[in-house]
Structure formats: C-alpha cells, structure tokens
C-alpha cells in the first residue's frame, strides 16, 4: 500500500549514521569504482517505464485474467496463477472458517470460481474474504446475511488479514499442534492483529 503510513516510528530513532564507519546503511568498505557519488538515475526514466510495462503486463495475466505477454511459458504461468489463488484461498479460509464449514468440500472450487481473473481487492485479505462472501450471496450459495462473519473484523478474531508474498507467514489462526498457549499473551497479540487495522493491509504476507 504505497500511501500507507508506517505503524509507528519511535521518535529519535533514525540517527544519521551514514558516512561513517560502522553500521551505516552502506557497508563501510570501499565501493566499486563508479558506484560512489552516482546519485542520478543510471536506469533512467525510460528503463523504469519499460520495466513497469513488462511487470504490469505479466501481473495482469497472473491475477486479472489478461492475456499472457508473448514469450512466456503459458503452462508455467497457469501454475503460478493457481498457486497465487491457492495462497489467497488459504488465508480466506483462516479468516472465514464459517464459510469453509458451510461450503465443505466445495470451498476450493467456489473460491477458484470467485478468484479466477479477479485480483485481490484493495484492502488485502480481509477485503478478499468479504468480497468472496458477497459473491457467494449473489450466486445463491449462502443466504444473504451470512456473508458478514469476518472474524478478524470483530476485534477478537485471530485472522491475519494480510498474509504475504512469502508462504503463509502472516499470523494465522493458531493451528499449531504444540502445547496450548497462555490466553493472556495470545489474546494481547491477537487484539492488535485482529482488532486494529494494519497499515500494510495490501501485503499478502
């Protein structure tokens, strides 16, 4: 979410350590010739625009049903698309176990039908879950009124709302098989995970 404000930035924690030895942003060792002092864009605006077009074209094919750009292995893109949908589905399943229960073994196919050619909406996984529920109501798969059971939106749920580019690294529903966690700490954690809006909502972590 490009316009997002970071969650919190502690005052006075951004010392300017650059330019000296030690843990600066740049390593404190010699840079290759030509790297120093080059602040203009070596890539140039044209390079950025070319890359933007290429990546936008590919991503539209992967998540929005657009035609694949020429030269790609279509079968591999299809697998990638299916993998992205599976990732979305697993997060929505964690956010809306009621829908998983209602749809049973149809959950997978229903989500695939919903997500096919439809990118995840702005607002991240919670919005995705809400849109999926709305889709199910419109198609008559669930009764109207049953589409608003977002656990994460309730303030007490433990859903992630945003799982991410990496496989399932968002805070989930505590599906671990280890020993039970004390309620206090887990509750504190889930309170902010579930009850407060995450500024990085659009990240599919």
């Amino acid at each position: 979410m490009a316009e997002a404000v970071p969650p919190e930035e502690p005052a006075g924690t951004r010392p300017d350590v650059r330019g000296g030895p030690g843990p600066g942003g740049r390593p404190g060792r010699e840079e290759p010739a030509g790297a120093q002092g080059v602040r203009e864009e070596p890539a140039g605006q044209a390079g950025r625009e070319e890359l933007a077009r290429a990546q936008a074209g590919l991503l539209a094919a992967l998540v929005a049903g657009a035609q694949a750009p020429p030269g790609f292995d279509g079968e591999r893109l299809r697998i990638q698309t299916a993998s992205l949908v599976a990732k979305r589905r697993s997060v929505v399943a964690r956010l809306r176990p009621d829908l998983v229960q209602t749809l049973g073994e149809d959950f997978r196919a229903e989500f695939a039908a919903y997500a096919s050619g439809r990118p995840r909406p702005p607002g991240g996984s919670r919005a995705d879950a809400a849109d999926f529920a709305g889709h199910l109501v419109r198609t008559g798969r669930i009764p109207a009124g049953a589409g608003s059971g977002d656990r994460a939106g309730s303030g007490t749920g433990s859903g992630p709302g945003n799982d991410g580019p990496e496989a399932g690294s968002g805070p989930g529903s505590g599906s671990g098989t280890g020993p039970p966690r004390p309620a206090g700490r887990w509750a504190r954690l889930t309170r902010w995970l579930g009850g407060e809006r995450d500024p990085w909502e659009d990240d599919a972590r």
């Binding site: 316009e3 502690p10 991503l59 539209a60 998540v63 990496e166 399932g168 690294s169 671990g176 972590r205």
Partner: protein
C-alpha cells in the same frame, strides 16, 4: 556486513512464540517486518531480545525488484523495526510484488536483463540510504522465467552486490526450487554467487506436485535441500542459518529435530 555471527535460528511467528522462546539451540530469529509495530513489539520478541537473541526484520512487501523506487514509508518502517529490535541487519527479497496497480501477494522474479539491473541497482541504493543497518537480499523461488532473461539469478545478484555492496541472504530451498522448476542447478548457483558477502541462509520445506516444487514452508526439510545447504557450507562458513516454517506447525520436538538436522547438514559441508 558479514562477520556478524548469528548461528542457527528459526523464523519467529506469533503462533509459535512460546515454542521459539523455549526451543534449545535457537541462536537468532527473524520476524516478518510488516507484521510488527516497532513501538509495540510482541512480548515474546522483547523476551528474546532481553536474552540477547538477535532479531532480524525480514521484509516481504518492499518489492525492491519493482519498477517504482521503494516506498519511503515502507523503508521508514523497516528502519524503525531495525532500531526497535537493535537488529544487526534488515533483509528483503530480489523480487517484485506489485505492478500496474495490482498486488501479486507473492514474491515474483524480476526480468534479469541489464536494463532491469540498472533499475534494481538504483532501488537498492535508495533502500540502503534509508536504513540504519546493512541490507541483505534474498534469492526467490520461481515457477517461471522471463523470456528476456540475460543472466541467471546468481549472476544478477552478483552484479547487484558488486554495484551496491548489498549483502546476500541465500535461501537454499529457493535454489532447490529453481533447480526443479527451471532446471537451474543449485550447486551452479552456489558457485556463481558472491558467497563472501553472505549474511545468512534460509532453509525451508515444501512439496512436489506434478513435477513442480512448491516452496510452502510447511513441511519437513527434504534431504535434497539439506544437501544444498551442505554444498553451501563446503564453500563458505555461513554466519547464520535459519529455518522458515510458516503454517501447519509441528510439535516443538519436531522443530527441535529440524534444527538438529540443519546442524548436521552444516557439519557435513
């Protein structure tokens, strides 16, 4: 940036917070940066920090391989995470995650061309300038390649390291994924990567489906992936090696056993 000894670690996740705290032999952890607020760190991370366990913020949403310059707000968040955690470094991925107003929800490979390299180099420099600690970039797991690719990922990362001094986070599971899916030999990648700039290593399990390897971070690490780790350790003594496990968590004992298998694979190298 290399030289910071990290040891063997595991990805800290809220679901396994107490497990991570009490697992023996956890020398360092990583936390998904976008999942925390620097001013309100989870208690478990504060406990680990109080014991002196390094915690590395691992970003997944910056998209330094994208066409746009990295978002200053995201960079400020990563910087604040590093400060709040007293982290020795921050890590991210050589990937793009959004384009044309769409979010991928995933780490997608960058076209590995000279022209894209120039863009990514500039992006990495901007990120480094905004961070109070060194940055390390991770190789990603890919299902497809770009038709215009001119370099391997190892060559592309090598060029980035030479131009920017960025560190390397080598994910051996991702190397294995690309070997299975794209026919790029993992050992060949190890030979091509500038391992002298290695910050640490990721290890994770996945599964094969229809001839395609899916890097799910939800399974026992395969012997084939551990063999890639051994190959890496035969070439360089890694400052750190970290297990990623992101869902379908096994028992504490199983996670402890995985860390043991990682140590054994390192010793074989």
């Amino acid at each position: 940036m290399v030289g910071e000894r990290l040891g063997v670690g595991i990805g800290w996740r809220p679901e396994i917070d107490l497990t991570v705290e009490r697992l023996p032999g956890v020398d360092f952890v990583e936390v998904i940066a976008e999942n925390i607020r620097p001013g309100r760190l989870p208690e478990s991370l504060r406990v680990l920090r109080s014991r002196g366990v390094p915690v590395i913020p691992h970003g997944v949403g910056l998209g330094v391989g994208g066409a746009e310059p990295p978002d200053p707000a995201r960079l400020a968040h990563l910087a604040a995470c590093a400060e709040a955690l007293g982290a020795p470094l921050v890590s991210e991925h050589l990937a793009f995650v959004r384009a044309g107003g769409l979010e991928a929800g995933h780490l997608l490979p960058v076209p590995r061309t000279r022209r894209a390299l120039a863009v990514v180099t500039e992006n990495v420099r901007r990120a480094q300038d905004a961070l109070p600690v060194p940055l390390a970039l991770e190789n990603v797991a890919a299902i497809f390649g770009w038709p215009e690719d001119e370099m391997t990922e190892a060559e592309f990362l090598g060029e980035l390291v030479a131009a920017t001094g960025v560190g390397l986070l080598v994910d051996v599971a991702n190397l294995y994924t690309n070997q299975v899916n794209l026919g790029l030999p993992a050992v060949g990648a190890l030979d091509a990567l500038p391992l002298s700039e290695l910050a640490y290593v990721h290890v994770a399990g996945g599964h094969e489906h229809g001839g395609v390897w899916h890097d799910t971070h939800t399974a026992h690490v395969s012997d084939e992936i551990l063999a890639v780790l051994s190959e890496l350790c035969a070439r360089v003594d890694p400052p750190g090696v970290l297990l990623e496990w992101d869902a379908d968590y096994p028992s504490d004992a199983a996670l402890e056993a995985e860390l043991g298998r990682i140590r054994e694979a390192m010793a074989r190298g």
